[in-house]
């Protein structure tokens, strides 16, 4: 790895100097931090990170290399990767791709040898904010200005990562339509593992088109950005409620909430990690969950639904069920990857819902 200088500038003018890896030039995005100690490849390829630059709080990244199995979509989506140290000598029997080459091949901009803890503390204290990584210009003021302007541009991030055409993964069991808002591949894998016949449909698919596929259940996937930026999806979901069993995950959970008349709000710096304790009131237990979201549902969102899960750290809404219809929804990621596998039972509940519908 040659040492090429790079700089990360945040919209408030704070900056961090380090070294570049991957693509050179400039990268922009909302800077968030992720506290998972393993699973960087899953993070990189998670479509929910579209539009974001991710700070990994664990300092050593790339230790076990990359492979073609641990991907959550066909390519990385992060706009920039901000880490302490990129490993130049990965070691794991499943490693097929060298981390340094990975970033170069995919054209992802990275900066390392920065104090990631300091950046994390900054975001924790002042909230997630836009930033620019640059290897060309080191004009902090100008880069901060660029970062500030990023926040004013509205983009349909979901549309950018959703499939363009319906994808069918055949299976012998329940037919499930997944509304792809930026689906992590492990959602599909989790359904396939349970024998489902899976249709992954683009985010713009209407309720009618979905129902025409004659699904036994509908899953609204995770995805990037603000749920209020995808009114068309909320509209489609509104027309699906009560018709079929529905499960929402992450962005899908927020969209379900909005479709039911709830409200969402932006968290200061979100939840991004694999150690979030979530209390499941039905089970009377706490599960350690994998999370990745910047927005949350207000807890008084809807009279038709009952909150089933809360986050033990900040009491935010983590899940609900509909009081009348077979609808379950969780803010966290039961499909994990990365993160602990404790909450995979949510998929089984979805299966049960379809079986008894």
């Amino acid at each position: 790895m040659e040492n090429k200088k790079a700089i990360l500038v945040l919209e408030d003018g704070s900056y961090f100097e380090g070294e570049a890896f991957g693509r050179t030039g400039q990268a922009h995005g909302e800077v968030v931090f992720n506290t998972c100690m393993t699973g960087y490849e899953e993070v990189l390829t998670d479509p929910s990170y579209k539009g974001q630059m991710v700070v990994m709080t664990y300092p050593l990244i790339g230790n076990y290399g990359m492979n073609e199995e641990d991907v959550e979509s066909y390519k990385p989506h992060v706009e920039g990767f901000i880490i302490k140290e990129l490993c130049d000598y990965p070691s794991n029997w499943r490693c097929t791709i060298h981390p340094v080459q990975y970033f170069e091949c995919w054209g992802i901009m990275g900066i390392h040898r920065v104090d990631t803890r300091q950046i994390t503390q900054h975001i924790r204290d002042f909230g997630s904010m836009y930033g620019v990584i640059s290897t060309e210009s080191f004009d902090v003021q100008a880069l901060a200005e660029t970062a500030r302007n990023l926040g004013t541009v509205k983009r349909d991030l979901v549309d950018m990562v959703s499939v363009k055409e319906t994808r069918h993964i055949e299976g012998p069991g329940h037919r499930v339509v997944v509304m792809d808002m930026g689906m992590k591949e492990n959602i599909a894998r989790s359904l396939v593992k349970r024998g489902c016949d899976v249709y992954v449909v683009p985010c713009h698919t209407s309720a009618k088109e979905i129902l025409d596929l004659d699904p036994e259940g509908i899953l609204i996937s995770n995805g990037p950005g603000d749920p209020q930026d995808v009114p068309y999806a909320i509209e489609a979901i509104r027309n699906l409620i009560g018709k079929k069993p529905i499960m929402g995950i992450c962005l899908g959970h927020q969209l379900l909430g909005l479709a039911l008349g709830g409200q969402t709000y932006k968290l200061k710096f979100g939840h991004h990690g694999g150690n979030h304790p979530v209390k499941d009131f039905n089970k009377g237990r706490v599960y350690i969950t994998s999370q990745n979201h910047n927005y949350a549902l207000r807890d008084n969102f809807c009279k038709q639904a009952t909150i089933t899960h809360i986050n033990l750290n900040d009491n935010t809404v983590e899940g609900f069920v509909h009081n009348e219809y077979p609808i379950i929804s969780v803010q966290y990621h039961p499909e994990v990857s990365p993160g602990p596998h404790d909450s995979a039972y949510m998929f089984d509940e979805f299966m049960d819902m379809m079986a008894s519908a």
Binding site: G39, T57, N63, S91, T116, R117, R124, I288, P340
Partner: protein
Amino acid sequence: MPKRDDVKKVMVIGSGPIIIGQAAEFDYAGTQACQALKAEGIETVLVNSNPATIMTDTNMADNVYIEPLTVDMIEAIIQREHPDSLLPTLGGQTGLNLAMELAEKGILDKYNIKLLGTSAQSIRKAEDREAFRETMKAIGEPIVDNVIANDLDTALTFARKVGYPVIVRPAYTLGGTGGGIARDEHELRRIASDGLRLSRVHQVIVEPSIAGWKEIEYEVMRDSNGNCITVCNMENIDPVGIHTGDSIVVAPSQTLSDKEYQMLRSASINIINALEIEGGCNVQFALDPNSMDYFVIEVNPRVSRSSALASKATGYPIARVATKIAIGYTLDEIINSVTGKTYACFEPTLDYVVTKIPKWPFDKFVYAEKTLGTRMKATGEVMAISTNLEASLLKAVRSLELGIYSLEVDHIHRLSDEEIKSRVAEISDERLFVVAEALRRGFSMEYIHDITKIDFFFLNKINNIVALEEHIKTLSRDTLDKETLLKAKRMGFADAAIAKWLGISENEVRQLRKQYGIKAVFKMVDTCAAEFEAVSPYYYSTYDQGDDWRPFDKPKVVVLGSGPIRIGQGIEFDYCSVHCVWALREAGYGTVIINNNPETVSTDFDTSDRLYFEPLTAEDVANVLEAEQPLGVVVQFGGQTAIKLTKPVADMGMPIIGTQPLYIDMAEDREEFDKLLNELNIQRPAGATVFTAQEAIDAANKLGYPVLVRPSYVLGGQGMEIAHSDKDIEEYIGIVNRVKQEHPILVDKYLMGKELEIDAICDGQDILIPGIMEHVERAGVHSGDSISVYPAQNISAKHQGIIVDYTYKLAKALHVIGLVNIQFIVYNDDVYIIEVNPRSSRTVPYISKVTGIPMVNLATRAVMGEKLRDMGYGTGLHPAGEYIAVKVPVFSFDKLPDVEVGLGPEMKSTGEVLGIAKEYSEALYKGLLASGIKLDAVSEGGYVLMTVADADKYELVEIAQAFQDMGYNIVATAGTAHVLNANYVAANVVNKINEGSPNIMDLMLEGKVKFVINTPTKGRQPQRDGFKIRRLAVEQSIPCLTSLDTARALVNSLRLQRQGQKLQPVNLKDVEKALLSGAK
């Protein structure tokens, strides 16, 4: 679920003396448990035979019993205290085994005592090999195909079936005692017989070896509601095959992908659920480096050494949380004390790398077998934290206090390529340095990996360090630029190492750093990678940009800790450091601790106002001092580790609080000290200061043999020997010079008299001597290895007066402020000084406990300027109370094959126990019993084997007579038997080893010998007969007495036992009460 309301009085069993495999981590665990119970208003009854612990302080538990950890004694305490519950999982394997025995014998039921936390059934499921195997099969967790053998034949048959090598592990032992890898039938016979004997249930497990797989551990917590979390995982740099206690371990795992990490995490949670553990649990896995295959190796259903490490590595207080779970709380009800906001029900995430390196006793046991395997040999460990692996490794290396500041070690650097080649294949304490040297020589990583199976990731990390070391060697002060220096500092390089390679002084490197603006910053250990604002004042240093350090407005004092537990410097110095901090807090000072031992109470982040987890070297300490700018530094409580830092700290212009450096030096400097003694008209054994072997020989001949030789600035008698001839001296100097000697060697006339010892507190004006201790063994046996009695039983008023007088004079002359320890010899009615240590000593905790004088507290107040007269404990020699306390040393010889068992001036014990009673004989009996000597096994017709040096033969007669009177049969080697028979003690002659079978060894192997009395002639070479006898005794668990004084004490105890007197437990509170009323 809230706290159980049926728990009002809890008994906590400690882990007993520090031995290899069970060290200070259980003081940390027990102390956290007691604190947690206290905070809940629950009354505690603490039982532990180890007096050097914080947990046995009367301010920790409501009722403290320093008593032998036997079922009978625990029952006697239960009868007296009536606890309603027992907490079994915080006292290590010892505590757990004892609790299980109490349950099995129906004692818990008899007294209606609940077992808190994990149930007896669960413990059995985890501990009993067969039950464990069934449970794992039931939940589909893979275990290595194995056989549980109750006899040798089963083991041999199985090994024939699966093929060698096989691993042997005994059931119910700690630290893998008696285990090993057998490569062939011959080895299996030996290892399996050992294991069967050492197992409490006479069971060993035999399994195919999976040596070379990755060894991964998870620390898991579970509550009664079934909530489970993993606190952290750890990866051993040394693959499967080396006991985890002897492995270099990093946290979190480094070479596992999320899929592997989560696979093993899920397995851990399945296991803890299946076992229905309520509390903490440690799960060890072997993971195939080339597939997703794994095996569950072991589960510890209790707080362990690894959980202490995990606690310190993450900031998550495992023992406290386990205690709260035990009394009914669930994880989501327990607040995370690090953030103060979130709950204990979450998983810590790290934004740094932690490295643990074991501390082995091989610097003391030069002839010990240094190869590592499944039997643990380390006495302690160090931990270091940094934001990269290289720095955390290098910080851990220099925390070991081996005088090594990089991966380059002189004596390894001097080896030939061929030697390096063979050393790479050897699994030893030095392998890290050998591997580094091999990389330095250009051996390929593939080559090293093939032999060691160390993962390429770690080899690359080592190589990064070596490459930068080699680069810096090519530079000079003028060509070392800022960028390179910063890179080196970020990688954890010590100024001392850089200085050595550049040929400049350490201070010059420091100046260069200042010039370049390269400064250490401090990061916080906060359990959450900065996601939440933390309130834990727990720091480590790095050379990054952001500094978590915040000023702290209070006049503060820095207390230097004592580093890793090792022979000669054990838990007692942690006890002293912690008490010093507590006393400073009481007095309103801000407190700062610097230490690197993950097992101890001092490194709990709530012990002091600020904890710096750092190496105890001049540079690392200086970084902290520069940031904190304290009033001063206290060095007298952290053992030699802290004392050695006096000069560098003083050179920084930082005040030393307490006895001043000038006087610390004066006590250590031979000539200065002799001069002082002359002025004070105090005698000491004649001696000389020398530098070379020839000078030593000349001095010895002038003084007349035998002489004591040792380096000045000693630690626990390190490198001390009695020399009887010129040859002894030559051999000795050769060994001593292996470690770089900055200080001269001392040669003293050896006087074989009665040894006495005091600890005193001085305020510059008055002194307070809580008591005089007498050693059972005469001079020549290291004070740490002697049985020590308080108050002295055989001392004349005259000698007592002289001792007080000398103490006063010396304290005055050395301007001692704080603690001083002085050792005396009474020889031919004269009192001689052996040594003066102006600092805390290993006897301070026990003397504090039995005299009720909180020595460290008073000493701390004295160093901060208070006067003894105002403290309410009087001055001068404190009157003795009505209780007698006998401290008995405990050894770990069974863990260290090839180590000489015989006692001498070099300290060998790893820990100690205390017996307290109103009668001397009962106190001694309790002490011996607590030390593990099987006194209850007295049987008519048992044999006592005697073989002693000529000089001891006549003295033996009386002892042999006593044994005979109790019905023992005496067997002795010809010379010894001759003297005994001539003095009317019937002794049968047994053949020496070279005299053909049946000989001594055969007799011992038959299991009839109950005691061995063998005094070493001389020398430490393993090939001698005496050596072999003593080793065999250790391996056969036969008490081996190498001093006639110890033998005499033992005989007296046996007599008492035969009188059938029942031992009375003593509540330390009653001792204090008696002392208080006595004082008034």
